[in-house]
Symmetry: C2
DNA sequence: TAAATAATTGAATATTATACGAAAATATGA
DNA sequence: TCATATTTTCGTATAATATTCAATTATTTA
């Protein structure tokens, strides 16, 4: 068939969704126009970055979830933001945080399985100038993106 | 005024949003009804758990972000899922993962500031039977929930 | 290969978001 | 304090959108 599913999943990761004003209006017992006004303000102020879907990652072939703690090589050590921005573009990376302590970066990574994870690590050591990484594999994802799984 | 904003933020954390079928149809050059059908199937199969918003957490008063690694006390050590489920209900907790290694649990926590974080820790040690915790404070959130911040 | 099941699609309908304007509430400044 | 400006609320009208339905086509199953 047309196999629209993967395209939808890609679009829904960070967008192509919108608030249900009518439902919210009923729920909060306020006029729809008032809800509309308040939402538009939230968006204009930049408080809302995007509307998207939360998936059952196991069911869409991203069941393998790893937290990666990374050190950058000395040439990039002083400027973790440059690498962080580059890593943020990686479609397998759900989150990127810059930290103090033993590691400069904390990543949350989603892949299909161990094999894909291994491929990712090999690629990333070069690409992102990792000096050392420590990984913590999630045995069970109980909650993600504020949604109970 | 009515101060609808906090209510909206609460609703948008895990729901009250919906796909934009018309926009997707245009983007993918497919009929709206086909898009509709495929989305409904994704939902029925449980591949999509929810539609919600991603925020600029700093702007909505949740700018302090901490990764918490936790050990459970011996009485709960053998059954981390029970505690994980309880922690998952915590509105400050964005994610909960059960892990192997030095710590059983990895949490991602969002609070207004250090003070609120400290209050959370004090509460949680008792409430969630933590034996030991290690915290990693995010200095800068570069990406979260697949959205570049 | 026949029958059953699943997926695509257009037309009709129901629902929903949005634009607009008026009124109310709040903030600002002398 | 009062007048004025700005922000927020909200009803009505309209535009846009999702959804239902039924027919057609494609795919799977036996």
């Amino acid at each position: 068939m047309k196999n629209i599913e993967p395209k939808l999943i890609e679009l829904f990761k960070t967008g192509y969704c919108t608030p249900q004003i009518a439902r919210i209006a009923k729920k909060l017992h306020e006029p729809g126009t008032t809800i509309h006004y308040n939402i538009k303000r939230l968006e204009k102020e930049g408080k809302i970055k995007a509307y998207g879907a939360v998936f059952d990652y196991k069911k869409i072939g991203y069941g393998y979830c790893v937290y990666v703690f990374a050190n950058l090589k000395s040439d990039k050590y002083g400027d973790p933001e440059e690498m962080a921005d580059k890593i943020a573009k990686d479609p397998n990376v759900e989150s990127v945080d810059i930290c103090s302590g033993d590691f400069e970066l904390i990543l949350k990574l989603r892949t299909r399985d161990v094999d894909e994870y291994y491929e990712w690590v090999k690629k990333s050591i070069k690409l992102y100038h990792f000096a050392k990484t420590l990984s913590q594999i999630s045995l069970k994802q109980v909650k993600a993106e504020f949604v109970k799984l």
